[in-house]
């Protein structure tokens, strides 16, 4: 085993791979990203640096002093008190206590809260409760403080919402009905997002996070972009972060555009440009993890996408690095060896502005 390198698979399983295979996986990973998104592969120097990070015999690795970046989160403090469904630990703490613990015990650069269900549709009926929680906490916290949730347009379709479900209509061949349902739902979603954003802004919200955008496809993404644009107009003092749900915008509708740009099929280096156009301040790409491939393959792929995105971005780029994205294994107790390798690689090679 001494000539082999300790690695992980995309599902977190620990494996020992020959160095030749690690190098081969790094090459295949970057080639896959480059081919899919028509972006440059990592240079040979990048590949060697990535190999060195992966092959480092230390359990935990880190960036060098002076290379540190900012972390933003999607309600990470919720992990203290939430249940397993949110990877939470069930500690009996209030939301404000968990925020203060995250700020002062974990030394997070920024903090955030959100609804336990983490979807904006669920926030609307209890907006008074959420604004009160945010306002109270904002008086005692020092770090920049976001409110976040997911646009999650899927909740606007039957049986969870009022509109016919495109996922049921499309297999039945009811194409026009499926398109119309998404067109109506996106307007409803955008209105709700703006309503919630305006209410949060009214209590002095410092940052508003659209997490897991485009999870229901291109119409979901369009609703998010419309809401960002409107909020920047009516609440210019509230910073906006847009984090994506995956590396590729699914064309559930297919003809959705934003300022003339077709949204279906956009990869991160293209997603960031429409997000910038809408007025957002921070962009979070999410690169899918393939659980059947190794972490060297997954991480090489993620770094390739992120490097290409940062190269064209005019706003800070914070790759999503929770379980199952950007080279972090798809496992709810992410092994710290894999997490810190993803962290270091995305900053040092991908040139991320944050995570």
């Amino acid at each position: 085993m001494t000539n082999k390198i300790m690695c992980r698979m995309g599902d977190g399983e620990r494996v020992w791979l020959p160095s030749e295979q690690v190098k081969e996986d790094i090459l295949r990973g970057t080639q896959d990203a480059a081919e899919r998104a028509h972006i440059p592969e990592l240079t040979s120097e990048d590949g060697e640096r990535l190999f060195d990070i992966i092959a480092d015999p230390s359990k935990v690795v880190s960036v060098e002093p002076g290379e540190e970046v900012i972390v933003t989160d999607d309600a990470a403090s919720m992990l203290f008190y939430a249940d397993q469904e949110n990877s939470g630990q069930g500690i009996p703490m209030s939301r404000t206590q968990s925020l203060l613990a995250y700020e002062r015990a974990c030394a997070a650069d920024t903090i955030s809260i959100g609804h336990t269900d983490y979807s904006y549709k669920q926030v609307k009926p209890i907006i008074n409760y959420e604004t009160q929680e945010y306002y109270n906490a904002s008086q005692v916290t020092t770090a920049p403080f976001f409110y976040g949730s997911q646009p999650n347009m899927g909740l606007y379709f039957q049986p969870d919402g009022p509109y016919p479900n495109p996922a049921e209509l499309l297999p039945e061949g009811k194409i026009s009905q499926a398109l119309e349902a998404q067109e109506i739902a996106l307007e409803h979603l955008a209105d709700d997002l703006v309503y919630i954003g305006k209410r949060m802004n009214a209590v002095g919200c410092e940052g508003f996070n659209f997490d897991t955008a485009a999870s229901a496809g291109d119409a979901d993404f369009k609703a998010t972009l419309k809401a960002v644009s409107k909020l920047k107009e009516v609440a210019p003092g509230m910073s906006i972060e847009v984090g994506m749900s995956s590396e590729f915008v699914m064309g559930m509708h297919g003809d959705m555009t934003y300022n003339g740009k077709r949204l279906a099929g956009l990869y991160p280096h293209e997603q960031v440009k429409v997000v910038e156009e809408a007025g957002a301040d921070i962009f979070g790409p999410a690169i899918n993890v393939n659980t059947s491939e190794s972490i060297p393959w997954n991480l090489s792929r993620a770094v390739t996408f992120v490097k290409a995105t940062v190269a064209v971005a005019e706003i800070p780029v914070h790759p999503n690095v929770g379980m199952g994205v950007c080279g972090v294994p798809m496992f709810e107790v992410p092994p710290v060896d894999a997490v810190t390798r993803a962290s270091k690689s995305l900053v040092q090679i991908g040139k991320a502005d944050g995570l």
């Binding site: 935990v60 880190s62 960036v63 002093p65 002076g66 540190e68 900012i70 933003t72 989160d73 999607d74 992990l79 203290f80 949110n86 990877s87 630990q89 995250y102 700020e103 974990c106 030394a107 997070a108 650069d109 920024t110 904002s138 008086q139 005692v140 916290t141 020092t142 770090a143 920049p144 403080f145 002095g204 919200c205 410092e206 940052g207 003092g237 910073s239 301040d281 921070i282 971005a313 800070p316 999503n320 690095v321 929770g322 379980m323 199952g324 994205v325 950007c326 496992f331 709810e332 107790v333 992410p334 710290v336 997490v339 810190t340 962290s343 270091k344 995305l346 502005d353 944050g354 995570l355």
Partner: protein, 112 residues
């Protein structure tokens, strides 16, 4: 950032790559990304210039602890009477010459 248990995911990233929040200058650099869309190097340079220190010192606890204490902009340990929360954010907004929504709301309540 994403999800995963608090030790394995956010804490691991914070130790591997983050600036250190209010232990150092992480919150200050974050404000510049949020309010001015600054990329990381520009944001660090801006904050370092405002503090009158080198960029490399922004994440040096031994330096930043004293800087934060002297400026009274919030420190990681609890000292009775020192600025924390909205008071610290008010001072940070003035220090960095930025607008912070929560601070502006308080000012409007006070008629300032």
């Amino acid at each position: 950032m994403g999800t995963g248990d608090i030790f394995g995911m956010p804490t691991a990233h914070i130790l591997a790559s983050a600036m250190g929040g209010i232990r150092t200058a992480g919150d200050l650099v974050a404000w510049m990304q949020m309010t001015r869309k600054m990329k990381i190097d520009e944001a660090k340079t801006y904050v370092a210039d405002k503090l009158g220190i080198d960029v490399i010192a922004l994440t040096d606890e031994e330096i930043m602890r004293q800087v934060r204490e002297d400026l009274d902009i919030g420190i990681i340990t609890s000292v009775s009477g020192s600025a924390k929360g909205i008071v610290a954010k008010w001072k940070i907004a003035e220090l960095l010459d930025i607008e912070i929504n929560s601070v502006n709301l308080l000012k409007s309540k006070l008629g300032i």
